[in-house]
């Protein structure tokens, strides 16, 4: 079920055109050669509209990978290509959500969700004239994740799960082609997490952005993703991948059927092996 892809990143790509492509990307912290090597000749290909989950031992460079793909950090070596263009500055077609909701405390839920519209073109220039239309759109999105009625609340008036929902809305409001999720549900309790898995699946099915999800939770990876990638211990590389052949939309029961459980098991073994090495 798990394929070795130590050197076969390019050979095993599912579609011929890829939306995100990392070609032998290395990243070293600090300015000289003595810095920690976080990524070493990492290859990665993600097709358009694909939902990919990245799992691995902690500290393996998963979050570094996110920063490199979005252009927040420049790789020390290698090339990052997104949507056919080489990345050398932060991308504006990306929506991001992190482990912390990182909402702006002086803005209401609605204003927080609409923040990207004030920055990303073409929305930025259209926002002044078409404010009402945009507000309707934001309210619809807020209602879709179950936050209707909390549009005028401030972040400190929301629970952790509600803040995370709002943060997902903010990541999606400008219709990004690429959604980068860095352990967005890690700080939530199990029930809230499962609820948000369903919400995220609905959002993805409705809009079909390309998604890269970094997570520690193997059940989460198997439930949500089309393909699960396993990273090695630092310096990180993709060392294995598994396709998840489950029909959509998936429901929470599928995470307990034998197919999912077996897949979680074998992923778990790969990661323990990666930790030990």
């Amino acid at each position: 079920m798990l394929d070795q892809t130590a050197a076969a990143g390019s050979a095993r790509s599912r579609s011929t055109t890829s939306f995100v492509e990392l070609d032998r990307v290395s990243l070293r912290y600090g300015e000289d050669a003595s810095g920690t090597l976080a990524l070493q000749r990492t290859n990665l290909k993600v097709g358009p509209g694909e939902f990919v989950a990245i799992v691995g031992p902690s500290g393996c460079g998963k979050s570094t990978l996110m920063k490199v793909v979005t252009g927040l950090w420049q790789p020390t070596q290698g090339a990052v290509v997104v949507n056919g263009r080489r990345v050398n500055a932060p991308l504006s077609i990306v929506g991001m959500a992190f482990q912390n909701a990182t909402l702006l405390p002086w803005r209401t839920t609605l204003a927080n969700v609409m923040l990207p519209l004030e920055i990303v073109e073409p929305h930025c220039t259209k926002l002044r004239r078409e404010r009402e239309a945009y507000e309707v759109k934001a309210r619809e999105l807020i209602a879709l994740v179950g936050l209707a009625g909390f549009e005028q609340h401030f972040p400190w008036q929301l629970s952790g799960g509600m803040q995370q929902r709002a943060s997902l809305c903010r990541a999606l409001i400008h219709d990004p082609l690429l959604l980068m999720l860095d352990e967005p549900f890690a700080s939530l309790d199990m029930f809230t997490r499962e609820e948000l898995w369903l919400a995220l699946q609905d959002l993805w099915l409705a809009r079909r952005p390309t998604v890269i999800l970094v997570t520690h939770d193997l059940r989460e990876a198997v439930f949500l993703a089309d393909r699960v990638l396993v990273m090695s211990a630092r310096p990180g590389r993709i060392i294995a991948e598994a396709a998840v052949e489950l029909p959509r939309p998936r429901n929470l029961e599928t995470t307990y059927d034998s197919y999912s459980v077996d897949l979680v098991h074998s992923l778990r073994e790969r990661i323990s092996a990666a930790r030990a090495s």
Binding site: K67, T70, G71, L72, A89, P90, L91, S92, V94, M96, F98, N100, T102, L104, P105, W106, T108, L115, P116, E118, I119, V120, Q152, H153, F154, W156, Q157, R170, H174, M180
Partner: protein, 278 residues
């Protein structure tokens, strides 16, 4: 087995009006001030202290009423000078704070010089200002500004420099420019720091004005007090002090009002929580 437990706790009877927290918070400050004056009056009378050493509050108020026109005239001059110096301090402090806080390079290069500059006692600068600008309003405005701008600059710089990296990443990942990050995140975030510094700065500005007026002016409360004490009109000098502190409290309240309007989001819990402020 899960058993529900229901207890009936009767509502506590409401306290009478004069014991409620709200009423107390409004009334107590006045009681403290009045009590202080009564205590002072009592001490002066009991020990028969001479008026030119420590005048009784009754004598101060009487003298203040007698000289009310010159006091008002000079108080207006002091207030005017302070507010101008304060406004310049706000503008320069805000701009400087943004510059110093948003770039580590500017921070590292400017900070030592600023610390050195702030260590200079401003009283010592007044004579130099007099040489440059002559006796009058200008040295007082500049002294008020010099004392008041530093806390503003430092606080705004700290507020902007300590923005959480994640918050910056959210905006940078959208392609936001440096200035957009400052405007959308850095500035709003530093507003609580900014207003905290305004409260310090406005009282500092009064100190600056009065010091300068005492040394080199022919108008203003500082000058009035200097003249009064040289003529042994000690109650009048005390009346000047009293008027200054009243103006100080007044300006302080103005900044508090503006602060409450601008940074209500940072004052959570003050009204108990779950009511949205719309």
């Amino acid at each position: 087995m899960v058993t529900g437990i229901v207890e009936d706790i009767p509502d506590a009877p409401r306290k009478p009006l004069w014991l409620r927290r709200r009423t107390l918070r409004l009334v107590l400050p006045w009681l403290v001030i009045i009590g202080l004056f009564l205590f002072w009056e009592l001490i002066v009378r009991a020990f028969q202290i001479e008026p030119f050493v420590l005048p009784a509050p009754s004598a101060i108020f009487a003298s203040g009423w007698q000289w009310r026109m010159p006091i008002l005239d000079n108080a207006w001059q002091t207030l005017f000078t302070t507010v101008i110096g304060f406004f310049i301090a706000v503008i320069i402090g805000l701009a400087g704070g943004i510059a110093v806080g948003s770039s580590t390079l500017a921070y590292d290069s400017l900070y030592p010089a600023l610390i050195g500059f702030n260590s200079i006692p401003k009283v010592a600068v007044v004579p130099i200002l007099v040489i440059w600008f002559g006796v009058g309003t200008v040295p007082a405005v500049i002294t008020a500004f010099l004392i008041a701008f530093f806390p503003i600059l430092v606080n705004v710089a700290v507020g902007i420099a300590t923005v959480e990296p994640e918050l910056q990443d959210v905006l940078r990942a959208l392609g936001a420019s440096r200035w957009q990050v400052i405007r959308k995140v850095g500035l709003p975030r530093s507003m609580p720091y900014f207003f905290a510094s305004l409260k310090v700065a406005i009282t500092f500005a009064f100190v600056g004005t009065i010091v300068a007026e005492t040394v080199a002016a022919n108008k203003g409360i500082g000058n009035l007090m200097l003249v009064a004490s040289s003529r042994f009109e000690v109650p009048l000098a005390f009346a000047g002090l009293l008027v200054t502190s009243v103006m100080g409290i007044g300006m302080y309240l103005v900044t508090v009002l503006v602060e409450q309007r601008m940074t209500g989001w940072a004052m959570r819990g003050a009204d108990g929580g779950m009511q949205p402020r719309v």
